[in-house]
Amino acid sequence: MPVKDQVIAIVAEQALLAPGDIKMTDTPADLGLDSLGLVEIVFAVEETFDVTVPFNANEPNAGDFDISTVASIVAGVERLVTEQKA
């Protein structure tokens, strides 16, 4: 499964939605995800792809990993996965 679909599946599970209902432009708030939900998504991403995501719930918008939309999360994970293979 492509990284994008796996990330969407992870987000969907946390948001209690079907993957088909997740839009790439959705923000965490659109999906009803609070900071704990985000922390669980980050953990699931790390476990799935065996990467380390630089995420601090105190400053969710700081750092290199952009969690502002589903698309940005997908892009961030794709970058981490590429870096890990390099």
């Binding site: 900071s35 704990l36 980050v42 601090n56 719930a57 105190n58």
Partner: protein
């Protein structure tokens, strides 16, 4: 109802191995947080903490004692020795039966658990030392203090995460006030700075990698600490009759439950506990000159706490001082309220307000006088100490200068 006073205090924490050393560090705004020196630290994302430095258990305890005393119990016993010595009390006869112990801790003997899980899981050992259970149990510290000082009255341990110490001291206060006991040793202890203890906290993604900066716009999380604080709470008439030096009066206590979220704090829950402590102490909000904040340095706590203080105190919120000494000693979790009570006593007795160090930039959501970076001299007659725990349990103590 009886009045309750504090006649002894003791501590060991990242700022010092005694009360005078700790108060000196708080006056000077010294930071006790630094690189962690523990096993497997290279496998941790978070590599800083407020550790008790220059500590060698063998200078205080013999081999047999060490086989029974986890680090959190050791910290408690050392603090209790200092507190009891200051109080001048000797527990025998009827006083022993009317005196007890109530301490707070969150992790109890977590180092003992960590070491022994490692032994059986990682190292594949099939045998552990016979005293692991009495060493790791949460009430071990209270039990050993009761034995060392012959305290034979009501004794137990409270575990409410970050509010454990304040809940414990609130119980001790209520027990002396109601007449259930004449003297209570109380406070709390924590020693969680081991691989497993930090790894668990790391998972929550609320820890800072570079420092604890409560109320500062640049804050990025909490930093764990370790240590203990122990106090002698005594019936005021009993203390006066024996000519004891009274450090201050414990005037009131209140607790509340958010009943909302397991980790996200609630302004209403905090405000109800603060207002409740004032009411219990029959204290006018205007009397309060200083609040020792819970002030963890997380985004969520600090703004919620400031909003709660503003709600309860109205215009007076801008006149009182509020500081977080966690900026210096870190978050001692179940022991934190006890070490922080020392800053409250310093304010009442010495007229010195401990600072919030590491303060870099104002946050409009924390727009109170947080005593940034440098201690302040001020005469205050009444203070509060806040503690707001994961699980939504809040506990606030109100203290007055003794007259």
């Amino acid at each position: 109802m009886r009045r309750v006073v504090i006649t002894g205090s003791g501590t060991i924490n990242p700022l010092g191995h005694s009360v005078p050393a700790t108060l000196e560090a708080m006056r000077e705004g010294r930071c006790g947080i630094g690189p962690l020196d523990i096993r497997d630290v290279d496998r941790l994302q978070i590599q800083i903490g407020g550790q008790v430095r220059d500590y060698d258990e063998t200078t205080h305890f013999n081999r047999q004692q060490i086989s029974l005393y986890d680090r959190f119990t050791q910290f408690t016993l050392l603090s209790a020795r200092e507190a009891v010595a200051q109080s001048g009390l000797n527990f025998s006869g009827e006083l022993a039966d009317r005196s007890g112990v109530v301490f707070g801790t969150s992790g109890g003997g977590l180092n003992t658990q960590d070491e022994n899980y490692r032994a059986v899981y990682e190292e594949g050992k099939n045998r552990v030392h016979p005293f692991i259970v009495p060493k790791l149990m949460n009430n071990a510290a209270a039990s050993h203090v009761s034995m060392e000082f012959n305290l034979r009255g009501p004794s137990f341990t409270v575990a409410t995460a970050c509010a454990s110490s304040n809940h414990a001291m609130g119980q001790a206060f209520s027990m002396v006030r109601s007449g259930m006991a004449d003297v209570m040793l109380t406070g709390g202890s924590e020693a969680m700075l081991c691989f497993g203890g930090i790894k668990a906290w790391e998972g929550l993604r609320v820890m800072s990698r570079d420092g604890c900066r409560p109320f500062s716009a640049t804050r990025n999380g909490m930093v764990q600490g370790e240590g203990a604080g122990v106090f002698v709470f005594e019936d005021r008439d009993h203390a006066i009759a024996r000519g004891a030096d009274i450090l201050c009066e414990v005037a009131g206590f209140a607790m509340s439950s958010d009943a909302s979220d397991i980790v996200t704090p609630s302004k209403q829950g905090a405000a109800r506990a603060i207002a409740g402590a004032l009411k219990d102490a029959r204290m006018n909000g205007e009397e309060v000159g200083y609040i020792n904040a819970h002030g963890t340095g997380t985004a969520a706590n600090d703004k919620t706490e400031c909003a709660a203080v503003a709600d309860v105190f109205g215009a007076h919120a801008d006149r009182l001082m509020i500081s977080s000494t966690k900026s210096m000693h870190g978050h001692l979790i179940g022991g934190t309220g006890a070490v922080e009570l020392l800053a409250c006593i310093m304010a009442l007795r010495d007229g010195i307000i401990a600072p919030t160090i590491g303060y870099e930039e104002p946050d409009p959501e924390c727009a109170l006088n947080v005593v940034p970076n440098v201690a302040r001299e001020a005469k205050v007659g009444a203070v509060l100490s806040n503690a707001f725990a994961f699980g939504g349990f809040n506990a606030v103590l109100a203290l007055r200068a003794s007259h």
